[in-house]
Symmetry: C2
Subunit: 214 residues, 2 copies
């Protein structure tokens, strides 16, 4: 396989991936927003989220320049936001991976709106229905391929109240959050069900969206 097909193939293997925009700002107030499909839950207490940063020198990764601006800004301000991509702006989100110059904000180019809250330097993406700010905790080098895992602690969550169920579950499908497969394929979802807590002495059963028995 050639390099590009191999990247496409291997990127499909992990399954469906989250679609998130990571937004940042540098000390000159220049904003940046970039698409990431590698955001991963690390733990609830403390509330930690990670994402994978590609190597600076990778030859076949298209969005590396945009992504490095993201990392540079995070290092400068220790602040960033993660914004779930929904069916209302998935094409604009993908457009952020074009190689815009550092002094050219993707917000302007793709038609998304920065939204600021006191105490959080980085902008949120106003169009996103579920978004949160993070404070940088660590950047862990992954020596085997020169990627890095950027770890942040969640400081503030903005989400439509209706989507949050009484047991804490957020119905992200009701927010039209999309997911990604491979490098460029986007998908909406259709709920199968939530399932009961698994026990050894019985089979799991479907439960309601609110976490209660059906």
């Amino acid at each position: 396989m050639d390099k590009r097909s191999r990247a496409m193939f291997i990127n499909s293997l992990s399954g469906f991936k989250s679609a998130n925009l990571i937004a940042t700002i540098n000390k000159q107030q220049q904003t940046n927003v970039a698409m990431f499909s590698s955001v991963v839950h690390l733990g609830a207490s403390p509330a930690l989220v990670g994402f994978i940063m590609r190597p600076e020198t990778s030859p076949n990764h298209d969005s590396k320049i945009t992504q490095r601006h993201t990392l540079n800004n995070i290092i400068e301000t220790e602040s960033y936001t993660i914004n779930q991509v929904s069916a209302h702006f998935w094409q604009q989100a993908h457009q952020t991976s074009a190689r815009y110059n550092e002094d050219d904000s993707e917000f302007n180019h793709v038609g998304l709106t920065p939204y600021y809250l006191d105490g959080t330097p980085a902008p949120f993406v106003q169009e996103s229905q579920l978004k949160y700010s993070l404070k940088l905790v660590d950047i862990m080098p992954i020596k085997h391929n020169n990627t890095q895992m950027v770890i942040g602690e969640i400081t503030r969550v903005l989400c439509l109240k209706n989507a949050i169920k009484s047991d804490g579950f957020i119905d992200i499908e009701s927010l039209n959050t999309v997911c990604v497969s491979g490098l460029d394929s986007y998908h909406e979802t259709t709920h199968l069900s939530r399932l009961s807590y698994a026990k050894t002495d019985r089979q799991v059963t479907p439960i309601g969206i609110n976490g209660k028995a059906k």
Copy 2:
């Protein structure tokens, strides 16, 4: 928020997650299979995939025992398989997170079938339509919450040929691969589109499933 609601809430923030079964074996030929929603693509060359292992001592994580069997087996044999969960067996996949004893294989309890290939000690999950074997590369401790990222290199991929497109993209939706939100919610997908490579001088446009212009 109480601990369980907080876990449910924070687990919903990263977006849709991959649904994968990780299957292992120990030196006594005891097999294990466990559900993970944290598998993440790390890079294509070498082909590296990571997943997050919860801490041994976490009080409110239900599947920790099963998951620790997974880690112990990987350390013993350096071999494991990742198997995409599809709509044909998502409830059985969720059932693997019950706290079965170490000498009790989840394969028997949930009705999934181990499948062996010469040269790969760990079993595959026969029911999975896209599965691959890995060799352990590294276990990186994440000191901030005592989780670990387990990194493996892909050694062999088993996938229905029809799902692999000419540019390397795998149509995992055609394999009925499901995704997860929160701790217990499962979803099928509906394709929006693949999108063209993003360029600064034009808007991205939908392309065909084979990667060619529509």
